[in-house]
């Protein structure tokens, strides 16, 4: 029984490697130990103190995602790359959230998010997921399932909706209310769609994705209502990244969370901007549970 699940995981990983080999996407490995913690507002790094016994003690962090390290490679001309690795996150709890899990992360140069979603469908089909593909924009699902014009509604009106639903309105930022209503009203409906991409997020949720025509060029993949992947049309310039890091750290400050040092080693690699590319992170453990 136990061996069967090991065989299943091995088979899936082999197929993933084959998929990328055929498309000449290069497998890479990047450092897991980091000098800086993540600046992501709602993701926390696990820290550890090393080299104490030899008198050169320092605090290091386990990577929460290989994103910045892989982007360093992209900035230096790596071309299309992917990585399968363990990632580590602090303060995770629940049946779907773990302190350590396997991530597949890959970047395709010159792709927009629709090309990347199409590429992922090919990958999923190769892994045996043959369901009908739904692609719905964030605005579309909110209008269809909740009759809310999510891209244009302001925070006060969202609070009124939340309060009518008997939900908390104790939020500072509009994106948190958008997510609350997404989790409450939309996500349960996605359980009826076996394979569904949600794309074009409100710009308040852009994080490291480009904003075009007032929407963040991002997508998420849901398999039977479980979020499995998160993809972006990636920001390219040093200034844009710096701005996001500062903004995220300001938010962390308001929660009295650990403030990350700006990752100088990353920014210094962006003297030339990243090539235009899209990238996606796929939770392998969650994906495995959706494959028979």
């Amino acid at each position: 029984m136990m061996r069967n699940s090991l065989i299943k995981k091995q088979l899936i990983i082999q197929k993933i490697r084959q998929f990328f080999r055929e498309q000449e996407v290069l497998e890479v490995q990047t450092p897991i130990l980091q000098n800086t913690s993540t600046s992501d507002v709602y993701i926390d790094s696990i820290s550890l103190t090393i080299n104490t016994d030899i008198g050169i003690q320092s605090i290091q962090y386990l990577h929460t995602s290989p994103e910045l390290e892989m982007k360093k490679l992209l900035a230096q001309g790596s071309g299309d790359i992917y990585q399968i690795c363990q990632v580590f996150r602090n303060n995770e709890y629940g049946e779907q959230n773990f302190n350590e899990f396997t991530l597949l992360e890959y970047y395709r140069l010159g792709f927009d998010i629709h090309q990347l979603m199409a590429d992922m469908v090919n990958l999923l089909q190769m892994l045996g997921i043959q369901d009908k593909v739904y692609q719905l924009s964030y605005a579309q699902v909110f209008s269809q399932y909740a009759n809310i014009d999510i891209l244009n509604i302001d925070i006060v009106s969202l609070k009124i909706i939340a309060s009518r639903l008997g939900l908390s309105t104790d939020f500072i930022w509009i994106e948190d209310l958008q997510m609350l209503l997404f989790v409450h009203l939309i996500e349960p409906k996605l359980k009826n769609l076996p394979l569904c991409f949600i794309y074009d997020y409100p710009k308040s949720q852009s994080t490291l994705a480009k904003v075009k025509n007032q929407v963040a060029k991002r997508f998420e993949l849901y398999l039977n209502g479980v979020e499995v992947a998160n993809g972006y049309d990636e920001l390219q310039t040093k200034d844009e990244y710096q701005q996001v890091f500062i903004c995220e750290n300001n938010k962390r400050k308001q929660f009295s969370k650990l403030i990350s040092q700006v990752d100088v080693s990353f920014l210094s690699k962006l003297s030339k901007p990243l090539p235009q590319c899209t990238g996606v992170a796929i939770g392998i453990n969650r994906l495995l549970t959706q494959i028979n």
């Binding site: 992501d40 507002v41 709602y42 993701i43 995770e92 709890y93 629940g94 049946e95 779907q96 959230n97 639903l165 008997g166 939900l167 908390s168 104790d170 939020f171 994106e175 948190d176 997510m179 609350l180 997404f182 989790v183 409450h184 996500e187 349960p188 949720q205 994080t207 998420e220 979020e227 998160n230 992170a281």
Partner: protein, 187 residues
């Protein structure tokens, strides 16, 4: 009353929600890719019996509800109130009709029911999963007709109406599943 963090919500935990005592049925933790963690909690309002879903920010606290479940024996109805007794302590509980109304068709004298108390007051009664009721009135069926799939309505001695097979006649004792209000078989 104690306060509970949402991450401590286990199925069956009794909490105060919208000023009613509720029982947790399911607690699902959802963390959007780049967002904060939420808990989507399914619960039953113990006063109204309604099943509801709410989404909370992870880390919110809610007040526990002083809810107790007792196995009490149903004794009799004196016209106004329904009398129950704790078969161990012999303590009697008088419960008024509004609380009994949804289940009175399943209350059979001597049966043990689960009575839910909130702050020591009864708020709901759960009859046994199966009870034996007597047929008070039904159309006469043809002997030997066991093929009919739809059956016929029958009024029980407790006042409720059930679909029963055609061969069931007045005075028969029948076993009833109280959760789905269905005839199970002849007792």
């Amino acid at each position: 009353m104690d306060k509970y963090s949402i991450n401590q919500f286990k199925n069956g935990l009794k909490l105060m929600l919208d000023s009613n005592p509720c029982s947790i049925l399911n607690n699902e933790i959802v963390k959007p890719g780049k967002g904060q963690a939420f808990n989507r909690v399914k619960f039953k309002d113990l006063i109204t019996g309604k099943i509801l879903i709410k989404t909370f920010k992870s880390g919110e606290f809610l007040e526990g509800a002083d809810v107790m479940e007792l196995d009490l024996q149903y004794l009799y109805n004196d016209g106004n109130a329904w009398n129950f007794m704790d078969p161990h302590s012999f303590e009697q509980y008088i419960i008024d009709g509004t609380i009994v109304s949804g289940v009175k068709g399943y209350l059979v004298e001597q049966d043990i029911c689960i009575v839910t108390l909130w702050n020591d007051h009864p708020i709901s009664i759960t009859p046994p999963n199966h009870v034996i009721l007597e047929v008070f009135d039904t159309d006469p069926g043809l002997k030997g007709d066991t093929v009919g799939t739809s059956g016929k309505p029958a009024i029980m001695n407790t006042g409720i109406v059930l679909q029963v097979p055609l061969f069931v006649s007045i005075g028969d004792k029948v076993k009833v599943d109280t959760r789905i209000n269905e005839y199970v078989g002849r007792a």
